[in-house]
Amino acid sequence: MDNARSTAATDVAFTVNGRPTRLSVDSRESLLDVLRERLALTGTKKGCDHGQCGACTVHLDGRRVVSCLTPVVKVDGRSVTTIEGVGGPDGELDPLQQAFIDHDALQCGYCTPGQVMAGIACIREGHARDDAEIREYMSGNLCRCGAYGGIVAAIRQAARR
């Protein structure tokens, strides 16, 4: 994309879960819609589509962001990790995914991919030192089933590893 002025249709190249991807996109498209509708990576969920619920959380160059408020044109040349990319090559779970199972940290599961992506980042940032800090730094992820107690316990467990 560089310094070229682009009209509605433009090419973007970025990596998704380590895989180089090149697409022709409309500049209006969000990263979330491209992941779900174009790349069939439907683990990333659409909740509010306005950056308030965290269901669409992914990592962009290693940092957690909401993909619904990320125009896909801004991702050109960058690296995206989704929930499909956090496990091992043979389907091993990320330690936080296992901790979610251990602590029953979900009910319907719709918010869970976003919770896990936010939780992995929360631990990596060093913002999971105690329950109060976990709650503060996970405040961008809503769970309407109210599994917050289990989510905090799961992050606490994974952070100890």
Partner: protein, 131 residues
């Protein structure tokens, strides 16, 4: 959302040029958390969007002696978590980490934060509500 053209300049000079070229229908985008959201709601409909998030000099955070300076493009999370700011400017750090969520603070810039449009739809709605 209305269609728009998108440019991602690498220098301030290129950005200014792109804004002049785009005329009054052009808008600056950095984190995108405010403008892109308002574009989805059709409150903002720029014809041209100039992305200043790829201009390195706007992101810089400098702390020297008793002075601190950071670019308008510094992200809220980076300013809040900067070790010197955390230690010596606690009110500034706290005012940032208590706002929004970490996902949004990783995207939003301190300059964009000051330039936000009022979020309340009653205040910003141009149309009169029929009574």
């Amino acid at each position: 959302m209305r269609s728009f053209s998108y440019t991602a300049p690498r220098t301030v000079d290129q950005a200014v040029e792109a804004l002049v070229d785009g005329g009054p229908g052009s808008k600056v985008i950095a984190g995108g958390t405010n403008l892109y959201d308002l574009m989805k709601l059709r409150i903002e409909s720029p014809q041209s969007v100039v992305d200043i998030s790829r201009i390195p000099e706007l992101h810089r955070i400098r702390t020297t002696g008793s002075e601190i300076s950071f670019g308008a493009g510094a992200r809220m999370a980076d300013v809040a978590d900067h070790p010197v700011i955390r230690r010596d400017y606690q009110a500034l750090s706290e005012s940032l980490w208590r706002a929004a969520s970490q996902q949004l603070r990783n995207m939003a810039t301190v300059g964009g934060n000051l330039l936000q449009r009022t979020r309340c739809s009653y205040f910003r709605g141009g149309r009169r509500i029929p009574l």
